[in-house]
Amino acid sequence: MKITKVAKAGTLESNDILIMVKPNELGKTELELESIVMQQFGEVIEQVILHKVQEMGIEGISIKAQDKGALDYTIAARVETAISRAI
């Protein structure tokens, strides 16, 4: 499935994550991640986001994620919502 619009979900509050998604013209999945816990949890956060994209069967998506220490289920929920809004 493809997304058609730019959409976002989440906030920049502590323990939340702001996810912005837009269509990727080249059909790739691209992720740009900033996190206040990059050193400790950067890889995990990346995995959670990409796993959710895959699970929803989305292709051709650029994601910008600004993490303020969100837990995994928050991250997954924000990604899911942003994608749903962009379809």
Partner: protein
């Protein structure tokens, strides 16, 4: 070699010298000496007020490699350190050691002086902001020495920290060097952290923007310690010096932690006539004071004293008769300054009287209950308030180790997790305060008692407070957050953490910055 806490520390650190490893909180007590002080006597008809800072710097003859000191009562509103350093840099002085009791974000210009070699050493009890980051990046030539409030006074009085020139920011001074902090545009209240500097430096200069006719009153620091006085336009920005009012947090998690901490205090049996108490100005700490107040009122208990940095909230408790006195080393807000100025039961305390372990008894020794914060705690109850989760310097002991060591009940109050980071670790990145001084950790999800406090554990078992082992508490957090990846640091030592007795409790290494 290893400290008693198992921390590996070199025997000798370049730029610091021989290391005395930490061997326990009270391993270095006994007979001590204070150092002799060099001074130039003043005879009648000599004048101490100099026309300008430039004239003063001429007279002070500050040479390469000297140690100059500052106090931090003007906190993030302090102009004095920056003005003096700028003038010294312009004069081409090199390799100075800046012994400032604390360094704040306003002292950012110090970073340039570190880079240009004007400053090669730092000694402080607390460092935050750009200077802390520069030290963590390894820009300072020598390792920074991080002390405690009591430890700094000890180091100065023993001669371990020799000060060539002390620059005393003085909210009010007279023309013969009597100083107080309660009047003037930059009023900050108590000048407790400046006392040892004034008494022990080879030369002491008061820098004021409020020069009053002789004699100033009250006198916090006496004329007998002051060589010169200089008036400048402004020594500090009141907005950065004190906060208007201190408010109790509304954060529900912090309030739960505060409530639980107070239940621990109650169960410990320490809520009794003559009790003593100290807490910080942070949200959760202050909320504990609010909860404790209710219990003291309910039980009709009058405490002997509250101490430390004083906030308006503690002043209210004094005025309501819940404590007979306050010991004030530093005022945090306007209400505290007014009370300190006007109420004789709100008393002055120097850093040495507050927490110096090598005196005939510091105030911390008389403390029953101490409420502390933590950046990290490990399963041995060691606390880190020096570095953040990335290993970057972002604070320091201040009075943390002093009060933890002295008090009967040292309680760490903290969220179990902060922005996804679990607070309890197998090993803290940096040990600031040894676990032997910490009695109990209170979080929103559970309470862990130091196993050596069997007596306290027995008392708390009679309550329905959620007791856990510290390991259980750690696992509980990691179940929610995941296990964080360790932080990588390089070999280079950027700071030496001195315990209050002058032994080295830990070292801080350079942070490898990740982009």
């Amino acid at each position: 070699m290893k400290t008693i806490l198992g921390r590996e520390i070199p025997d000798y650190i370049e730029g610091y010298g021989q290391v005395r490893p930490f061997q326990g909180a009270f391993s270095k007590v006994g007979v001590k000496n204070r150092t002799a002080v060099k001074l130039t006597s003043v005879i009648p008809n000599e004048h101490k007020v100099l026309p300008s800072l430039e004239d003063a710097l001429d007279k002070l003859e500050i040479a390469d490699g000297m140690t100059i000191s500052f106090h931090h009562h003007l906190r993030n509103g302090d102009y004095v350190l920056n003005i003096v350093m700028e003038r010294l840099a312009a004069r081409g002085v090199k390799d100075l050691t800046v012994a400032a009791s604390s360094i704040f974000p306003i002292h950012a210009p110090l970073v340039e002086h570190i880079e240009s070699g004007v400053v090669s050493g730092l000694v402080a009890n607390y460092i935050s902001g750009p200077v802390a980051e520069a030290v963590s990046r390894g820009e300072l030539k020598k390792p920074a020495i991080m002390q405690t409030h009591g430890g700094r006074a000890r180091a100065i009085e023993s001669g371990d920290l020799h000060i060539d020139v002390a620059f005393l920011a003085a909210p009010t001074a007279d023309n013969y060097g009597n100083i107080n902090g309660v009047y003037g545009n930059a009023a900050c209240g108590s000048l407790g952290y400046a006392v040892a500097d004034a008494e022990y430096a080879d030369k002491t200069i008061a820098i004021t923007d409020h020069l009053v006719p002789y004699p100033a009153y009250p006198i916090e620091i006496s004329q007998v310690f002051i060589d010169y006085i200089v008036k400048i336009d402004s020594i500090g920005d009141p907005k950065g010096i004190v906060s208007g009012t201190t408010r109790i947090t509304k954060d529900p998690v912090a309030l739960i932690i505060a409530k639980r901490a107070t239940e621990v205090i109650k169960a410990s049996g320490l809520v009794r006539e003559g009790m003593s108490f100290q807490t910080g100005a942070g949200g959760t700490s202050l909320a504990v004071a609010a909860e404790l107040k209710k219990i003291m009122q309910h039980e009709g208990v009058v405490g002997s004293f509250a101490s430390g940095g004083i906030t308006g909230y503690l002043v209210e408790m004094l005025e309501e008769g819940l404590f007979r006195s306050l010991f004030d080393v530093q005022c945090f807000d306007l209400k505290a300054i007014e009370s300190y100025r006007d109420n004789p039961t709100h008393q002055f305390m120097s850093a040495s009287m507050y927490g110096n372990p090598h005196t005939k008894g510091a105030v911390v020794n008389n403390l029953d209950i101490m409420i502390l914060g933590a950046t990290e705690i490990d399963t041995d109850f060691n606390v880190n308030v020096t570095t953040g989760s990335s290993g970057m310097i972002m604070g320091g002991s201040g009075g943390h180790s002093d009060t933890a060591a002295g008090s009967k009940l040292a309680i760490v109050v903290t969220n179990l997790m902060k922005a996804r980071l679990p607070i309890i670790k197998d090993k803290v990145i940096t040990v600031t305060t040894p676990g032997e001084s910490i009695d109990v950790v209170v979080t929103e999800r559970g309470i862990a008692v130091n196993p050596k406090r069997v007596d306290l554990l027995e008392k708390l078992r009679m309550t329905n407070l959620p007791l856990m082992t510290i390991e259980e508490l750690k696992l509980l957090a990691e179940k929610i957050t995941g296990v964080p990846k360790g932080v990588e640091t390089s070999e280079k030592i950027v700071a030496v953490v001195e315990y209050r007795d002058g032994s080295v409790i830990d070292i801080v290494r350079k942070v490898d910055l990740v982009s």
